[in-house]
């Protein structure tokens, strides 16, 4: 059948009679993203902005995005933003947090940024229990620079700097930094999520909402990992990528609540 009949124009009349049950959040700008088709960054951006909209905290929120594919986050997130040097997002967020104790502060970091060059800043920020939300996008690769190996790259996984697949001898083990983070008393809430299915997206949204709630109550660091994809870096279609992710990433990085407040 032709698509005409259902094209928005045609449908327009009806829409008035209907409830809009889902629309792009206002806090997400209309700028078309530079992300590759199917990249999880886009969903993570949207969900984060949805929560900020629903909590009505756009005016009190300050975000930090370091180098990485999401370095342009400030083009899409309509809140005050700081772009940070590679690996230093949590240090920058600390600076902001300390001078604005009552604002909402988040950092949005990739695995290379958070788990490689930024390891010290990440761990000490959480160890200080900085009252911020760290959103950690783990796609097991360096996307922006063209698909090099990351600390989270799986053993045997091929990247431009592990052309024969990652081996322990040359590069050590995939790093489960989120589990290490959870050990720190400064970490109040630690959760691992994904954005590849509707339910996963719903869960992430809950997690982020909780995190901001905890931040309001000054509970300490909330750390949310999003196991995500990188179709370009992985050299797969978005659908293949998400499938590969479930099969290969989840066994190593199982989604779920890792550290939840005692009731």
């Amino acid at each position: 059948m032709s698509t005409e009949i259902l094209e928005p124009e045609a449908a327009e009349p009806d829409l008035a009679q209907m409830d809009c049950v889902y629309a792009k959040p206002d806090t997400l700008t209309d700028t078309p993203s530079h992300y590759c088709p199917g990249c999880g960054h886009g969903v993570a951006h949207r969900v984060l902005m949805e929560v900020i909209d629903e909590l009505g905290i756009q005016e009190q929120t300050i975000g930090v995005a370091p180098v990485g594919c999401s370095v342009f986050a400030y083009q899409y997130m309509n809140v005050d933003m700081q772009q940070a040097a590679h690996g230093r997002a949590s240090a920058v967020a600390t600076g902001i947090r300390r001078v604005h104790p009552d604002k909402y502060v988040f950092s949005y970091q990739g695995d290379g940024d958070l788990a490689a060059i930024g390891t010290a800043e990440t761990i000490h920020t959480v160890n200080r229990g900085e009252n911020i939300l760290v959103l950690f996008i783990n796609n097991a690769i360096y996307g922006m620079t063209g698909g090099q190996m990351a600390p989270t790259t799986l053993l045997g996984m091929k990247t431009t700097t592990s052309p024969l697949g990652r081996t322990v001898e040359t590069a050590g083990f995939p790093m489960k930094i989120t589990e290490m983070i959870a050990m720190l008393p400064g970490a109040y809430y630690v959760s691992r999520n994904s954005v590849h299915t509707p339910n996963a997206v719903r869960h992430l949204k809950k997690a982020i909402t909780k995190a901001f709630q905890y931040q309001k109550e000054k509970k300490g660091t909330c750390f949310i990992e999003v196991v995500s994809n990188c179709p370009s870096g992985w050299k797969m279609t978005p659908l293949q990528a998400n499938e590969w992710m479930e099969e290969n990433m989840f066994p190593m990085y199982p989604p779920g609540e890792i550290k939840v407040p005692k009731p």
Binding site: M18, P37, G38, K210
Partner: protein
């Protein structure tokens, strides 16, 4: 079964097909034609949409708006957490 409809901001669609995968009704497909960025964009090809919002949830480019027939009453809120210390229930349709 709720009656819904989705609209696509086709120029921002990148044809990643995630919405197609996510749609339980198999109501979405990529159009044969290209948008101005050279992508085949998603379109609704059946009228059996229930407005379940799945497609919109997984869309990386916030291309999709979802509507649902009024009679079903109160709009579906996707996660509003009031008291986080207790458990949270999120109602979707």
């Amino acid at each position: 079964m709720a009656k819904g409809i989705v609209t696509f901001n086709i120029e921002t669609c990148k044809g990643c097909e995630l919405c197609i995968e996510a749609c339980p009704q198999e109501s979405i497909e990529l159009s044969p034609s290209l948008n101005k960025h050279g992508y085949h964009y998603a379109v609704l090809i059946k009228d059996n949409c229930t407005g379940c919002v799945n497609c919109a949830l997984v869309c990386p480019d916030a291309v999709i708006t979802v509507y649902r027939e009024k009679k079903k009453g109160k709009p579906v809120s996707v996660a509003t957490i009031t008291n986080v210390t207790s458990d949270i229930t999120v109602s979707v349709s």
